[in-house]
Symmetry: C2
Amino acid sequence: MSSPEPPGTSLLVADDHPLYRSALRRAVGDVLPDVIVRKADSLPAVLASLAAHPDTDLVLLDLHMPGNAGLAGLAALRSLHPATGVIIVSATDDPLVVRRALDHGAVGYLPKRCDIDVLGTAIRSVLAGQVWLPPGLRPARRDEAAAGGDRALARALAHLTPQQFKVLELTAEGLLNKQIADRLAIQERTVKAHLTAIFEKLHVRNRTQACTLFRQLLVREPEYEDACD
Amino acid sequence: MSSPEPPGTSLLVADDHPLYRSALRRAVGDVLPDVIVRKADSLPAVLASLAAHPDTDLVLLDLHMPGNAGLAGLAALRSLHPATGVIIVSATDDPLVVRRALDHGAVGYLPKRCDIDVLGTAIRSVLAGQVWLPPGLRPARRDEAAAGGDRALARALAHLTPQQFKVLELTAEGLLNKQIADRLAIQERTVKAHLTAIFEKLHVRNRTQACTLFRQLLVREPEYEDACD
DNA sequence: TTCTACCTAGTACTTTCGTACAAGGCACGG
DNA sequence: CCGTGCCTTGTACGAAAGTACTAGGTAGAA
């Protein structure tokens, strides 16, 4: 606690809104000067950055950005980089969304309108290995027993390999096996092999049911009146 | 306006919570004494009641009840009984959900904690042909231009025949054509015929995509702390 | 009655999906 | 080096899905 963060700590800010992303990055830089901060504006960019810097300790992830509709991106991150922590940054403060994010392995949840000092507190807590939630949402942490199917879903998704995850995503978009094969530059037979493994891991019997499960990850963006950008 | 409701007006209260259902029914009876009020505790019960009483003018529909996850029940009602008005009664007051309900043909939205006199006002407004929303949610009515894909989805779903709707529901549950056929006591070929028609009406190419569209109707129940029952 | 929409079912066919079993290449950690 | 997990592909097959066209029965509306 006395040495807030080790020198090698690195962090990734993922938000598709340029102004907010910059503000967030600057805020982090102010609060934690010794931390390396990178940026990404889309989910592919996040994955690319993590691939290039596997030692990244923490990602501040916007729930809604290109290539990431809802919790799917979080699940993908958790599946690909289990060792990297994820704090969700979202305009939503629906307790249900918060709890689902935690179920899927987020270690923090940051409403977008929080203060800078809160930001610092949250990041330090998380780097210290704790889960951080805004004060108003703390109770959400407690109904773990009453948690819906998201726990099981998260566990199952975590067992998917990266390629299987991609196949599942494309399947959920309604693509044919052949189309998926073309997109991934592999044979259709390989797609089928992946799907068979996916079905087994998710405990479903066909692509429609797998699609249903995966679609539960999508969280709709609430539409607010204030057009502050 | 001077004669609030015609003598033959009939109304259906659909809520799976017995206490709340009774309270709602009594409240309606107090406010509108000349109205026939029926009750239903599940979506099948609602459909059965409407089948028995096609002249029902208005349904007070809970968004979450057995057989009805989210907006699917509303869409089914609108598809089967276009002439019957529907007021959504829900614990949710998410503006997005409100607007989606309106997109799918609801003519009113009633938060569960509203006063009795508000209830009367709402019902009278709706019976007079107006759309009624609680004061705090009126703005939601205005962003019709910015409406998401729900308008198009609602239009497409409204064109589905009752049987097609059932087939789509079962398909979205991940059932095989054969299983759907068994459930509906028809031949598998007939199921396929329905599905082909459904795909065309929804402008999709296979069951996975149709399932995706239909699943957009599901609205998650927010989980509140108060366990008042 | 005639028209229309819906539900149903048929034949015949192609395409897609999914499974079973086997196996080579590759990267990584013990 | 060896084991392990992942990705890939193969063969072969059966099951399911989807299309195209036709058509009878029924019920309600014009």
